[in-house]
C-alpha cells in the first residue's frame, strides 16, 4: 500500500496559542508600563504585541501541538510538536471505533487488549467516517 503523510495546520490550536500569548503580553504592559507612556505609544505597542504574539504563537504551536501523521499498510506514526513521537503497527490492534469528543472532534480509536490509542482524525482534517473504513481495511476487517 502507498504511504500517506499529513502535516496540516490546526488553525484553532494556533489561534488559541497566539491569543494566550497576546493576552499575556497585554497583561505585562498593563502591569509594568505607565499609562502616559502607553497612551503616547499605543499603536506601535499594540502592533509589536500583535506581531510578537503571532510569531511566538507559531513557534510554540510548532513546538508543542502541531501534528504530523504518516501511515502505510504496515503501521502509522504520529508526531506531536517537536518531541513526542508515537508509532504503532496496525497488527497490534484488534478493534476499531469512531469516537466523538465533547468539543465535537472525531477520533479513530484502536483497541488492543482493553487499552486503546486514538488517532485524532478531525485535528488531522481527515474525513473521520471515511478514514475509519480505511483503518478497518488496514486491520483486515472488510467494509460493510
Amino acid at each position: 500500500m502507498k504511504g500517506h503523510a499529513l502535516s496540516r495546520v490546526h488553525k484553532t490550536s494556533l489561534a488559541k496559542i497566539c491569543a494566550a500569548i497576546f493576552i499575556l503580553e497585554a497583561t505585562l504592559v498593563i502591569l509594568f508600563v505607565p499609562l502616559p507612556a502607553f497612551q503616547s505609544n499605543a499603536v506601535p505597542m499594540i502592533g509589536f504585541n500583535l506581531a510578537t504574539s503571532l510569531a511566538l504563537g507559531w513557534i510554540a504551536y510548532r513546538y508543542v501541538s502541531h501534528l504530523e501523521f504518516s501511515y502505510d499498510g504496515q503501521g502509522f506514526k504520529i508526531k506531536k510538536g517537536r518531541r513526542q513521537v508515537t508509532s504503532h503497527s496496525w497488527s497490534e490492534f484488534s478493534r476499531v471505533s469512531l469516537v466523538r469528543s465533547e468539543t465535537l472532534e472525531f477520533s479513530v480509536r484502536l483497541y488492543s487488549d482493553g487499552e486503546f490509542f486514538e488517532i485524532p482524525a478531525s485535528r488531522l482534517k481527515l474525513d473521520p467516517f471515511k478514514f475509519r473504513f480505511e483503518v478497518l481495511e488496514l486491520l483486515g476487517t472488510p467494509k460493510s
Binding site: V96, S97, L98, R100, L104, F106, R109, S144
Partner: protein, 162 residues
C-alpha cells in the same frame, strides 16, 4: 433494490447519531462497525449515554435532571436475498438483551433495514412493548418505517430521518 441503498441508510443513521441528532434522547459518542454479539453480526453499534454535555448551564441542567443511562443503537441491514422471519427477529432481540445485561446498558434502539419484511414481522415489531428496547424496521425502497409502540420506538421515528 440494491444493497447499497440499505448500506447508505446504515451510514446515514450512524452519521446522524454520531453528529448529535438524537441528543434530545441520548448523546451517542462511539460507533463500531461489523460488531459481533454472540454469533450474530450487526452493521453498526453506536453507544452513548444520557448525560448531555455542553456549556455551564447545560451541564448543570443535565447533571441535576438527567439520569446517566448507558445506551446503545444496533443497526442491521439485511441482504436483498435475506428474509427476516419472527424467529430470526427473536434471535436478534435475545442477543441484544444479553448484550445489554452484560454491558449494563439501560436502553437500546434496534434498527433493521431491508426490503422483504413480511406482515408477521411488521406486526411483531409494532406489538413489542419492551420499555428498554425500541425497534424500528425500515424499508430501504419505500423508506417506510414501522416502529415498536414503546416510548423508545416512537422517539426513534421522531429524531432520525431516513
Amino acid at each position: 433494490m440494491d444493497a447499497s441503498s440499505a448500506r447508505d441508510i446504515v451510514d446515514s443513521v450512524e452519521k446522524q447519531l454520531m453528529k448529535g441528532k438524537g441528543r434530545w434522547v441520548a448523546d451517542f459518542k462511539e460507533s463500531f462497525r461489523e460488531y459481533r454479539v454472540r454469533d450474530l453480526k450487526f452493521d453498526a453499534l453506536v453507544r452513548g449515554d444520557t448525560r448531555v454535555k455542553g456549556f455551564f448551564l447545560s451541564r448543570l441542567f443535565s447533571f441535576m435532571l438527567n439520569p446517566n443511562y448507558e445506551v446503545a443503537c444496533f443497526i442491521l441491514s439485511l441482504d436483498t436475498r435475506e428474509r427476516l422471519d419472527e424467529k430470526s427477529l427473536a434471535r436478534y432481540l435475545t442477543a441484544i438483551k444479553s448484550f445489554m445485561k452484560k454491558e449494563k446498558i439501560d436502553w437500546s434502539w434496534f434498527l433493521l433495514v431491508g426490503t422483504r419484511f413480511g406482515g408477521g414481522v411488521k406486526n411483531a415489531v409494532a406489538g413489542l412493548s419492551d420499555r428498554a428496547l425500541g425497534v424500528a424496521l425500515v424499508d430501504s425502497e419505500s423508506r417506510e418505517m414501522v416502529n415498536s409502540g414503546s416510548y423508545l420506538g416512537r422517539q426513534f421515528k421522531k429524531y432520525i430521518k431516513i
